[in-house]
Amino acid sequence: MSGILRAEFLKLKGSRIPWICSAGIAALPCAYALVGLASRWGTVGWPWELFLAWNLTLILYIVGPVLLGLLASHIFAREFVEGTASNLFATPVNRESIVAAKFVVLLVWSLFPGLLAFLVSVPLGLCIGLSGFSWEVLLWAFPRYALSGLLMYLTLPLVALISMVTREYIRPTVFTILATSVAVIDPTRIAIFFAFLLGLRWPVLGYLTFLAQVYPYSLPRIIVFGTSRDLDYFGGHLASSAAEFWVLLGTFAIGVLLNVLYLRKAQIGK
């Protein structure tokens, strides 16, 4: 297994995609700081809490899932796009090990951007003169930034599966954008809208709204902030409800299992 892992890490040597994803996420604080400066928030005492929390919200809601989705599709679909799949799957290696190694590589690269974003945010915050600096704020933010990558990572197996089934980059990316958009708009509202549109009544409507509350793409943010309400960053504690975490973990486990089952039977080539 260590050889397969080494091979999977080596495949990304010199590849721009992981760095683009990491830089994209880490650049968010810079962009946000620039917007803040331009609108003169900095001069009226823009607080550290708001800066760090908004950065994290944008990472967890929009930029992170999309860029990590792109990275996942790159890792899983590239074998088909670059024509290396025939050789890879004719190599005497368990297909399960290949899937496992790819998920390990994806995990490492998913953890990196959150940490990088934190490392960028702190000196940037000091430079632009945010108000209310305290070690307490940093201690609040650091585990959340560190955890953000892991939580987003847990949603990625479905993107990996779509990448392998479609054997291209576009459809998994479109899926990621759609899935992320639903999280941003609010899955419960969307569920109710479609239920009424289709004329669904209780109890189907009830099930739908329940499912919407555990919509995987919303969960990383809910877990990190301990609340689903906007701008209520300090209202909850980290992973205030273990249920959300278990749902996310279940999503991940089912996703990985589907990847393994698919690849076991996958026909490589025409």
Partner: protein, 311 residues
Amino acid sequence: MSWNDRATPVIRTHGLTKSFGAKKAVDNLDITLRRGEIYGFVGRNGSGKTTTIRLMLGLITPTKGSVEIMGEVMTPGNVRALQRIGCLVETPGFYSNLSVYDNLEVQRNLLGVRDVKAIDEVIDLVGLSAETRKKAAILSTGARQRLGLARALLHRPEILILDEPANGQDPAGIHDTRMLLKRLSEERQTTVFMSSHNLPEVQQMITRLGIIHEGRLVEEIDYEELRRRSRVYLEFQVSDPARASFVLEEKLGIRDVSFHEEGKIRVYEQMDRASEITRAFVLEDISVSRTFVSEENLEDHFLRMTQDEPV
């Protein structure tokens, strides 16, 4: 059963069939390869060569029939069977961001080959030493084929399954590949199954030839027949082949001769003496009912066999 025995089948397909919808890409294929053989699998584009290779490697599952690799039935991801095989499928793909060396390093890690020098060894074998640091993305087609071959050889496999290995190579590259495969067959007793749509390219190295057309194996030609058919010859149909043989050998000194059904004798040397040979037969009371110079070589034969409409 000893796999070192040259008579033991190394690759065997039983009624191998693969359908895509209503179309049979491979139809009831029975092929047996023995240790050290170089089997040329020749057919036109779309005849079913690559599908057969994918079936042999377990990349796709057969609709009917099976493939055995050294007694192991091939199924998708059968590690035990795949350990014996080095392969090159169609135009080989590589990680474009990696160099030639790193692409081989990926394969070395996947295969669990501990010896780092194995990479330099295969690079030397296929003649890629000057391009070790080049990115795979900028390699020529010929160099990509050679890199694919290097990747296939990395774990010193007992079996090589190669799909059009000469594709895109220049004449020198084709020659080098030919010499390399011959050497591997002779020195390591590597069994080689190679497909091609270009018969002259493979004719000089193979020990057996299979012609595939529309998914069916239309003819298999062994080494002797291959050599015979690759040569131009004079054919006589005579009343008494035994006496004719005596005349040819003792009176005319012609020894490169073969005998066939219905009194047919083929002469492979001194072709300019056709009238002299006929005269000698007549003088010995051997009646000659037919004489001709072969016009069909192996390539013509292949083209005829793989034509959709008989001429």
